[in-house]
Amino acid sequence: MELQVKDTIQWLEKINEKIQQNKDYLTDLDQAIGDSDHGINMSRGFQEVVKQVNSKDYNTVSDVLKDTAMTLMSKVGGASGPLFGTAFLRFSMGIKGMDAVNQEAFAKGLEDAVAGIMQRGKATIGEKTMVDVWSPVADYFKETAKVQAEDVVYTAKNAMEQTKEIMATKGRASYFKEKSIGHIDPGAASSFYVFEALSEVIKEEE
């Protein structure tokens, strides 16, 4: 795989489409174990991201992702703003100075993003958060010789579905204790859309 500026913008546009289409679903998930604003917040955030990245000319993938981060941080409002924002910010810093992002660089970016999310949210794996999707996807990129589009979706989807069985100990969902079991984590679900969108971009390349 190789990601150029235009592919990155396409990735963000596809994320936005999926978030807009599933806005109500994300809000429903959040209603069960949170404060039911996740869909609204994410839809506002990514709408602004797409507006932002289409209004400028970019030279590097890193710059696109940096603007994505800043927009999410200032527009989302809920916890997903600083968390997704930090993820994209660390990602952009991890691939700084590279013209095009190949698999190795992408894996590095993802690894930095996961570290950022964990640090910002003081979370680790297995706590029913977005970490539970980002982390296995980052591992997949690092450990696989040649990334396949279907494997990216499979890894992310499987990881998202597993959050259903976990009891939340971090974030707003942790107030719900045992009641949080049986529900997919909303942050894990929107993270799945991020990687589903990515896999579609990779597929077009294959």
């Binding site: 404060d35 604003d37 917040n41 941080m73 200032s74 527009k75 989302v76 409002g77 809920g78 916890a79 997903s80 703003g81 600083p82 968390l83 924002g85 930090t86 910002r120 949210g121 974030g171 707003r172």
Partner: protein, 123 residues
């Protein structure tokens, strides 16, 4: 005389404004700033609002932040990273009571560390 500034961070702009009103009725010499809600005043918190409030509340002696739930703390932490030159501390005390105690202590011209210690001791 310079005082430690107080910033009130809440998911609701009404909570932050209401608390500011409550504190300002008794303590007038301390800079108290409300950073509640998103940029559109919806439920949530905004890094930019928090950052602006930190700048307004600072008169050279540093700023103490009080927050309510969830993302408020994360956004406060990012705002602190962006505030760079200003000395800022986040209090883990409950928003209403903590900020009230903090403002009283600041009114006695204490340092940022002293205000933080006093608030921590109270809860």
């Amino acid at each position: 005389m310079e005082r430690v500034g107080i910033v009130l961070i809440s998911h609701s702009s009404k909570i932050a404004e209401g608390l500011k009103e409550l504190i300002s009725q008794v303590i007038t010499e301390v800079p108290v700033e409300a950073a509640g809600g998103t940029e559109e005043n919806e439920i949530g918190t905004s890094i930019e609002k928090i950052l602006e409030s930190i700048h307004r509340a600072d008169c050279g002696k540093g700023v103490m932040l009080f927050y309510d739930i969830g993302s408020a703390k994360m956004n406060a932490e990012i705002a602190i990273e962006m505030a760079e030159s200003i000395e800022v501390m986040i209090s883990e005390a409950p928003l209403v009571e903590g900020a009230y105690v903090g403002a009283v202590e600041s009114g006695m011209a204490k340092s940022l560390q002293e205000v933080n210690n006093a608030v921590e001791k109270a809860f």
